[in-house]
């Protein structure tokens, strides 16, 4: 303004003409206006540039400007530099292509930018200063004929997670591909992974299963039970044991499977690994075995009934005749014959009863009736009733104080079987010893029956408790006319008491059978 005033005063002195002064003054005023406007616009441009610079510098997006043809980077913002850990000097003036991680990444970039100056969401890896890969999502636009503005969004975290997921899936796949069991990975109630065996079980492909709720494949009859089971793992509670669940296959069949669940971490978050064993076939066989056993038991029961019924008149009449031989005019020799008939009838009755006992034991339907009793009187009563004292020299080493809790009648039968066995497989002079032993801290009663009989070959010992197995069966059954059921029954009865029978034997010296019964009966009531 001072300059304009000075110029106006200068004009006035050089050309002291009012008209000229007016012209000069008008020119000066116009000049001032134009100068003010220029100044205003310059200020405006300066403010705009500052704003642009501020946005450029503070953007959360990485921004780089590079040449359209040579890709030389002319400018970047701080965010772009910090993503890749470079300083401005290390990037400015270098081609953008030099930031691509691999030659393949470079090729993809060139291919993409060659097609268009304006691109969105191009995912690629740039190299950080240390040479590591860094995933970015690039979008670019042409700023002018010579410049491209490119923004870079950080997607490194997401890409790493995706890769980890893919790596995990690959790992799961490798680990479970050949597993005969179905294996599922469940997270947030959705199937994240399934192996080929589970697809084989259900008929659904991997992609049909992915993202679905496992409950969608459960047989409606088992759905409630399954939901209850699944509640544990969805709440990340420990899941113990296995659950049998029926699944519906794609073609409408039902498959039974045993499920076990384990908590794991998948992508650092809680997930559940489910192991699924197809037990349909096992169940079918088990049902078949059960059915066959029931049928066999039915046959045995019917046969037993049919065999027992005709024995009743025979036994009754023999009893009548033998009880009053004079009354029926029977001579002594005839009476002896009738007595032998009676022994045979009694033996047949025993065999039928043993067959029935065994079938009941096999069916698992036998209920033990527990009571607490003294052992010594039981054994004495058995020796007396069974007539063993007339058949052998029997010694009993059982303290009077010994009491036990067990099914008294069944234990009576077990000891009876062992005594009968001792008598049957020995010759006079028979010697039988019944011995009890147990220490205070011993959890078991040990009742042994020792004989001086023919003994058992070592290789036959394991089979003597099998039904209808006699060691050297043909020879022995001829010699003793017996079938081998009693030991099998005795063993099963003792096993029902959670005990066992062991045997020690030496050929031509004798055998010792020992009943080992727990002192505390878990199921006793």
């Amino acid at each position: 303004m001072c300059g304009i005033a000075y110029q106006a005063v200068g004009y006035y002195y050089r050309y002291p003409d009012y008209a000229a002064l007016t012209v000069v003054t008008s020119e000066a005023v116009l000049f001032v206006i134009i100068a003010s406007m220029i100044s205003y616009f310059i200020e405006k441009i300066r403010l705009g540039e500052t704003r642009y610079r501020s946005i450029f510098e503070h953007s959360q997006l990485g921004i780089a400007l590079f040449g359209r043809t040579d890709f030389i980077i002319s400018q970047t913002n701080t965010r772009f530099l910090s993503m890749l850990d470079y300083s401005p000097e290390e990037v400015i003036g270098k081609p953008f292509l030099s930031l691509c991680l691999t030659s393949r990444d470079k090729e993809r970039f060139l291919e993409k930018i060659g097609k268009s100056d304006a691109t969105e969401n191009f995912e690629t890896r740039l190299a950080t200063k240390s040479g590591a890969g860094y995933w970015v999502n690039l979008s670019w636009n042409r700023v002018d004929d010579a410049t491209i503005s490119c923004t870079a969004v950080n997607i490194n975290g997401r890409k790493i997670a995706e890769k980890l997921n893919n790596d995990n899936m690959m790992k799961y796949s490798q680990l479970t591909e050949n597993s005969p069991n179905g294996i599922l990975l469940i997270q947030h109630d959705s199937i994240r992974f399934s192996n080929p065996s589970f697809s084989g079980l259900t008929g659904y492909g991997k992609n049909e299963l992915a993202g679905k709720n496992l409950a969608d494949f459960v047989d409606p009859r088992d759905k409630d039970e399954f939901i209850e089971f699944a509640k544990h793992w969805s709440e990340h509670k420990p899941v113990h044991g296995e659950k049998e669940i029926r699944f519906m296959t794609k073609n409408g069949d039902v498959r039974l499977a045993a499920l076990t669940a384990n908590s794991i971490l998948h992508l650092e978050k809680p997930a559940t690994m489910i192991n699924i064993v197809d037990i349909s076939e096992k169940q079918r066989l088990s049902d078949k075995i059960h059915e066959d056993n029931e049928r066999r038991r039915g046959i045995i029961v019917t046969v037993a009934h049919e065999l027992r019924t005709p024995l009743q008149p025979i036994l009754g009449y023999l009893n009548l005749l033998i009880s009053d031989p004079e009354g029926f005019g029977i001579v002594e020799d005839t009476k002896k014959i009738l007595e032998r008939c009676l022994v045979s009838v009694d033996r047949e009755r025993q065999i039928i009863n043993q067959m029935l006992d065994l079938s009941v034991l096999d069916s698992g339907k036998l209920q033990l009736s527990y009571s607490t009793f003294q052992l010594e009187p039981l054994v004495k009563s058995l020796l007396d009733t069974g007539g063993y004292l007339t058949k052998a020299e029997v010694t009993v080493d059982i303290p009077e104080s010994v009491t036990m809790t067990a099914d008294k009648d069944r234990i009576y039968s077990v000891i009876d079987s062992l005594l009968s066995n001792a008598v049957s497989y020995s010759k006079p002079p028979r010697k039988i010893n019944i011995h009890y032993s147990s220490e205070t801290d011993d959890l078991y009663h040990h009742i042994s029956v020792k004989d001086n009989g023919i003994g058992i070959e070592q290789n036959a010992i394991s089979s003597i408790f099998e039904p209808f197995q006699l060691a050297d069966s043909a020879k022995l059954s001829r010699r003793y006319d017996r079938i081998g059921l009693s030991l099998s029954i005795a063993k099963k009865v003792v096993q029902m008491h959670s005990g066992d029978i062991s045997v020690n034997s030496a050929v031509n010296t004798g055998s010792t059978f020992t009943i080992n019964l727990p002192k505390e009966m878990k199921n006793a009531s």
Binding site: V301, A304, R308, L311, Q312, P313, I314, G316, L320, V360
Partner: protein, 122 residues
Amino acid sequence: MPHKIMLIEDDRPILDMMEILLKRIGYEPILVPDVLDALKQVKENPPSLILLDIMMTPINGWEFLDKLRGEYGQKDIPVLLFTASPSVEEKIAELNDSRLGVLQKPVSIIELKAGLEKFLAK
């Protein structure tokens, strides 16, 4: 007076033999070969004890027992199931009837006598 023992049994040989056996051990047998007549006979000639076969037609021993105890209200007459069928104990336990027991065929004269005495004493 000897105890009257009613034997409901459709097997004739057993019935004939049991008649002699029961008499021999001091009882008065009432023989009923047809189970359908049994309920009428129980009413007309009440026995001290009933020996009851199970596998009979047209109604079996269990059905007879059900009628005897239920429809006919004869809850006090002791009944011994006289059967060759195994595994009746389970069903007996289910019925929870203190006046119900079992004698497994074939029984010897000693077992029959002991069984009857024990049950009549209850």
